[in-house]
């Protein structure tokens, strides 16, 4: 890929980011309702509310508010949270590692489980194995993550003792650590890992179900191609056809899928973090939306948009590497 093309792609990504940011600003400010009303005490007078609005800069004209906010954002200053008074960047920075742990582990598992599952289904297409797996993956795909969360909590946290599950399967459901005890070293890691099992399992299961559905149809498309028939005619074993020819041909769609699965993962984490009380970005975003904490909502949206746009850009740049036929594109 030439340097000019690379620069053009990056410029397009930045333009898109600006558009997202502007649309968010318009959307948030168009909405009825006054954030100052949430901040002043219930008995406050109209003058108090007006003073709060002035302090937050909400009394200026819309274009001026936009210009100030955009300028500050470009300097990396996302403003102060209306609700807590903390800088938005600090709110996001504190929440991000939790979500990164949750999202990164789930994303890894999603691909490690989803791709082989989809390949297995394609290999056994329309036989019993495939049909059973199709109904299973589609059901998981059809289940809301918050419902899965409640169901797993009902079984593994509250039902564990009644159902006589072994001690290792009695899993904690809330928070990141066991409250009230400070564990260090491996004990601490183990504690976090035990707390992570249920949330990670849910995000990974929902993600893997989607990836398996996609891999199945991609692999089925490749299996129909002439070179696979030729390879079979030459006597190449099924295993080699799968591991060498098919995998090489679905690598490109998988790279695209990696970028595409990011929004779903971020969205899933909103529910999962909210049910499991994980102090991550999803929960921070949800709380900010519910409290009309404009700066945090907009900061989080900018963060999500950066993640999605640059994941797409990375996928686009990686495509020629995994699929040389796309060099010209």
């Amino acid at each position: 890929m030439s340097a000019t093309l690379l620069l053009r792609r990056i410029a397009a990504a930045l333009l898109l980011l600006w558009l997202v940011v502007t649309l968010t600003f318009v959307l948030v400010r168009l909405a009825p309702g006054d954030p100052a009303a949430f901040l002043v005490s219930p008995g406050a007078s109209a003058a108090d509310a007006a003073r709060t609005r002035a302090e937050l800069g909400l009394d200026r004209s819309m274009p001026l508010q936009y210009a100030r906010w955009l300028g500050a954002t470009l300097r990396g200053d996302l403003g102060m949270s209306f609700a807590t008074g903390q800088p938005v960047s600090r709110v996001l920075r504190e929440a991000a590692p939790v979500s990164l742990l949750l999202g990164g582990t789930s994303l890894l598992l999603t691909f490690l489980v989803g791709v082989p599952l989809g390949m297995l289904q394609a290999a056994k297409r329309n036989r019993l194995t495939d049909r059973v797996l199709t109904v299973m993956t589609t059901s998981v795909y059809a289940a809301p993550s918050f419902w899965l969360a409640l169901a797993l909590v009902a079984v593994f946290t509250y039902g564990a003792a009644t159902l006589g599950l072994p001690r290792a399967l009695r899993l904690p459901a809330f928070g990141l650590h066991t409250p009230g005890v400070s564990l260090s070293g491996w004990a601490g890691v183990l504690d976090v890992a035990r707390h992570a099992v249920l949330p990670v399992a849910i995000l990974a299961a929902v993600g893997a179900a989607g990836i398996a559905r996609y891999t199945r149809s991609s692999v089925a498309d490749v299996l129909r191609l002439d070179f696979v028939r030729t390879a079979r005619a030459k006597g190449v074993t099924s295993r080699r056809i799968f591991l060498r020819h098919v995998l090489a041909n679905i690598l490109a769609p998988l790279v695209v899928l990696f970028a595409l699965s990011l929004p779903g993962l971020l969205a899933g984490s909103i529910f999962v973090e909210s049910v499991f009380a994980w102090p991550g970005l999803g929960r921070a975003t949800l709380n900010a939306i519910l409290a009309r904490d404009y700066p945090v909502v907009m900061g989080a949206t900018v963060f999500y948009a950066i993640a999605v746009i640059f994941a797409n850009l990375a996928a686009e740049l990686a495509l020629p590497l995994v699929d040389p036929r796309r060099e010209s594109a």
């Binding site: 909405a31 199709t134 999605v308 746009i309």
Partner: protein
């Protein structure tokens, strides 16, 4: 090699999925009509509340899925909720697809700045997770049935618009469109008579797959308290209502989820099946053209 020419999803899957969806819809319509339990009225709370599934109350009435914290029959409530969830899913998805078809067709037909502006907005909206967009919109406006549908439509048109645009651009390059224009057909007539019917197949598939998605999103919003408001039941707010009972009466939260999963499963299988048929037909068509050439 065996199975090369077999369709992706066999017809039996489609038949089962359609039957399942029809049965669920019928149950949602009929059960609340003919049941002796009123799904909204609160009666003798103390004797009726939180009965487990398959139990009978003091007067001998069977509660198939038990009762909730106010002693209301869960099965009848679930079916009543199904009416709303299904309606929101279908209406939200169909209207979003209609808006997407309209905007996509306009973009492809007009080209120029309108095309660029619409596609830029679509791209921008696609780079924020749809749930975040939905939450922001739903939280900022008055929550309720209308808001949910409006918000589903406003955040659901982009995929269909992109697809229809590509289809119409492809059709516009076909010789028969030039022929129609040469014969003096007006621009909108060419679009309506020639371009759109050819682009409709993918739009129908996207709508069908969108129904499941819309039902899931509605349930998510309602679960967070930003969607359908109680006492009007929806599957999402019923699950939310049972959330704090998960220790003592898990069926209150879990039962509505099964209805939801079955519905979304059926809608998704139908969409998959239609998509595979369409892909098969198109593939066949392309082969026919290639062989003739």
């Amino acid at each position: 090699m065996s199975g090369v020419n077999r369709p992706e999803t066999t017809d039996s899957t489609l038949r089962w999925a359609v039957a399942l969806l029809a049965a669920l819809t019928l149950a949602c319509v009929l059960v609340p009509m003919f049941s002796r339990h009123d799904p909204l009225a609160i009666g003798d709370v103390l004797s009726l509340r939180l009965l487990p599934p398959f139990s009978r109350d003091a007067s001998g009435h069977l509660h198939l899925l038990g009762t909730d914290r106010f002693g209301r029959d869960l099965f009848v409530r679930m079916m009543l909720a199904g009416r709303i969830s299904l309606a929101v899913g279908v209406v939200g998805s169909v209207l979003a697809a209609a808006l997407g078809t309209f905007l996509g067709a306009i973009a492809a037909w007009r080209r120029g700045w309108l095309d660029r502006a619409l596609m830029a907005i679509a791209d921008a909206m696609l780079s924020v997770p749809r749930l975040v967009l939905l939450l922001v919109c739903a939280a900022l406006w008055q929550p309720g049935l209308t808001t949910v549908v409006v918000v589903l439509v406003a955040t659901g048109w982009m995929g269909v618009a992109r697809m229809i645009r590509a289809e119409v651009l492809g059709v516009a390059a076909q010789p028969y469109v030039s022929a129609a224009v040469a014969l003096g057909a007006r621009s909108w007539r060419v679009l309506w008579q020639h371009a759109l019917p050819n682009a409709l197949g993918p739009a129908i598939v996207a709508t069908t797959l969108g129904v499941g998605n819309a039902i899931l999103l509605e349930s998510g919003l309602s679960f967070l308290g930003l969607g359908i408001q109680p006492p009007r039941p929806s599957w999402g707010n019923m699950i939310a209502g049972g959330r704090d009972l998960i220790v003592t009466a898990p069926w209150v939260a879990l039962a509505p989820g099964f209805a939801l999963i079955l519905t979304v499963l059926a809608a998704t299988l139908i969409g998959d099946s239609l998509r595979d048929r369409l892909a098969g037909e198109r593939g066949k068509l392309r082969r026919d053209i290639a062989e003739r050439a």
